[in-house]
Symmetry: C2
Subunit: 338 residues, 2 copies
């Protein structure tokens, strides 16, 4: 029902020359290093993850079970220059995992090689076909959902950092992925933006099933209730997750919606209130643990001042989860303790 990927990975860098096109590979190196045995690249590639550069066979011998396409091409298509390496990976015993728009099996040489060698091709943009309609039934265990003032404000990395910080305190916590990169990092998940509309809440319910009462699922948010292009996905995810705690994610300096510059960003207070109001439908005890502020684009000092300003504004813990520190400790305590 949920996609589960073979691991660990060999990261394929193609022939790209800009780190901007290799976000998937770098994300995996940073967030799932224990799942990455090495990298492989074509001649001309100028970037590196600093993982060992391995042939497919070397990677297989070191335990790799899948090659992950870690780069994006223009238009999300498979490049003809990549095919010999991908076929070589199949021959070495690796499956292939792709988050590209074009499907691996649509490429005849790759499809035939996979069939011949009985290897699997994973297109993680394709959702599983057996997702149920949501039931709204209250599940055991605890859930935290990262929600946003907008798209692309850091909901995935906030969830990953919170899961890591929870575990550092000895809490049984698991990151639950709802998008392509998150699924690669977690090794499983549901690509929520590809699910048919009626099944979004059901997919979210399936993603965080009944668990021990002390267990936390930290669910990667999608979109924003205030983004008119994607709000339906956000509400379906909120209702299906039944969060005990939400953490509102915001990017410092963002003033208008991504892609829709006529729309001012909602305030933090408005975002908290709207998410809590709607989440109360499925969990009357839901509360906001605090704010995850993405300060990647400013200096340490500017980040410190901004975090303080927002903390006074909303009277809740505020932290940049990527910077850590006592602010993150306070945010984690708030999420855990109430």
């Amino acid at each position: 029902m949920i996609i589960t990927l073979p691991q660990p990975y060999l990261l394929f860098l193609g022939d790209v020359t800009s780190a901007r096109y290799a976000k998937t590979a770098f994300g995996l190196r940073d967030w799932a290093p224990e799942r990455c045995v090495g990298e492989i690249a074509l001649p001309g590639t100028t970037i590196t993850t600093n993982l060992p550069r391995l042939s497919p066979l070397e990677a297989y011998q070191r335990g790799a079970r899948a090659l992950v396409i870690g780069v994006a091409s223009r238009g999300g298509m498979l490049m003809p220059s990549w095919i010999p390496t991908l076929v070589g990976a199949l021959e070495a015993g690796l499956d292939i995992v792709s988050g590209m728009h074009s499907k691996l099996g649509d490429q005849p040489e790759i499809r035939r090689a996979a069939e011949r060698l009985e290897r699997k091709l994973f297109d993680i943009r394709t959702p599983p076909s057996d997702i149920p309609i949501a039931t709204g039934r209250k599940r055991s265990g605890k859930r935290l959902l990262t929600v946003g003032t907008d798209c692309a404000v850091g909901k995935k990395y906030a969830a990953l950092a919170l899961a890591r910080a929870f575990r550092a305190r000895g809490v049984d916590a698991e990151f639950r992925a709802t998008g392509q990169t998150g699924i690669l990092i977690a090794g499983s998940g549901v690509p929520l933006d590809c699910v048919v509309a009626d099944f979004v809440s059901g997919a979210a319910e399936t993603l965080s099933p009944d668990a021990a009462q002390s267990h936390w699922d930290i669910v990667e948010g999608q979109g924003s209730l205030s983004h008119p292009s994607y709000s339906g996905v956000s509400l379906g995810l909120l209702h299906g997750t039944q969060p005990d705690v939400i953490v509102v994610c915001h990017e410092l300096g963002r003033e208008t919606l991504m892609g829709l510059h006529d729309f001012p960003l909602p305030s933090l207070e408005e975002t908290i209130a709207l998410n809590l109001t709607l989440a109360q439908r499925v969990n009357p005890d839901v509360r906001c643990g605090g704010i995850a502020l993405n300060t990647a684009d400013v200096s340490d000092e500017q980040a410190r001042l901004a975090i303080k300003k927002y903390r006074l504004q909303v009277s809740l813990p505020v932290a940049d989860p990527m910077r850590g520190g006592p602010e993150l400790d306070a945010l984690v305590s708030s999420c855990l303790g109430g």
Copy 2:
């Protein structure tokens, strides 16, 4: 981009013996009589729409251009006993329209006959593939959306009745369909529950495009913001429609959510407030025109009393659009006039 069906229709009743299985045929007879030239049924059928019973050729000669499967089978499958009649319709020059789960083209005899005769097969559960992501751009013309306290409370029929009442006053109004039966009645629309989640708002935008300032699109609502299984579809539709007016639909006596009996129905006041709060994101001037109360299950007198009770409760016009009368007049005036 939007499904558009050949018309008028010949209604196929299969071999069913209960009107409960022929809701599509009766809905078309009641709401699109000018689009229905007759009915066709297999031996053993005990129901009738009271439209002329015609052979496919007679129907074609009277102008019919499509046979519509007007009945549901258990499991939504095409029944083998239907196939000769359906092939006969293709031979007579009719296309076939189906809202069933199983696809017409998956049945080999029907697919081959359609190919041979160059006829078209319309599966209206299959959404168009070229739906754009929503832009949130404000469109010209006016829009009314029927929203609900729950699923299946009468949002489609309220929208149809309001569109009819608007036109009776000389207002340029069009019903915009978002579900299978609505699409058959209107002859076009988008099956919103089959659209991939990221595209729901875009589908709603496409469905009610720029129009003359005095034109009203009356959009068929789906689900409910308070129904945890389908709320995402409802919010995507609300944001994509950018309504000027919402009409809240409710079924008299409904106390818990359809299929989720642990969930009490939200109050009318809560439903109005939640829909307006979220709709203001895309149209700050949105207002609630009133309540469409489905009183189908009670007597005239009980309906009259309930309508009065709710009117006093919410201080807005309340009407059962299917009963009409001065209450419907007041609701229409409120929607039009503000």
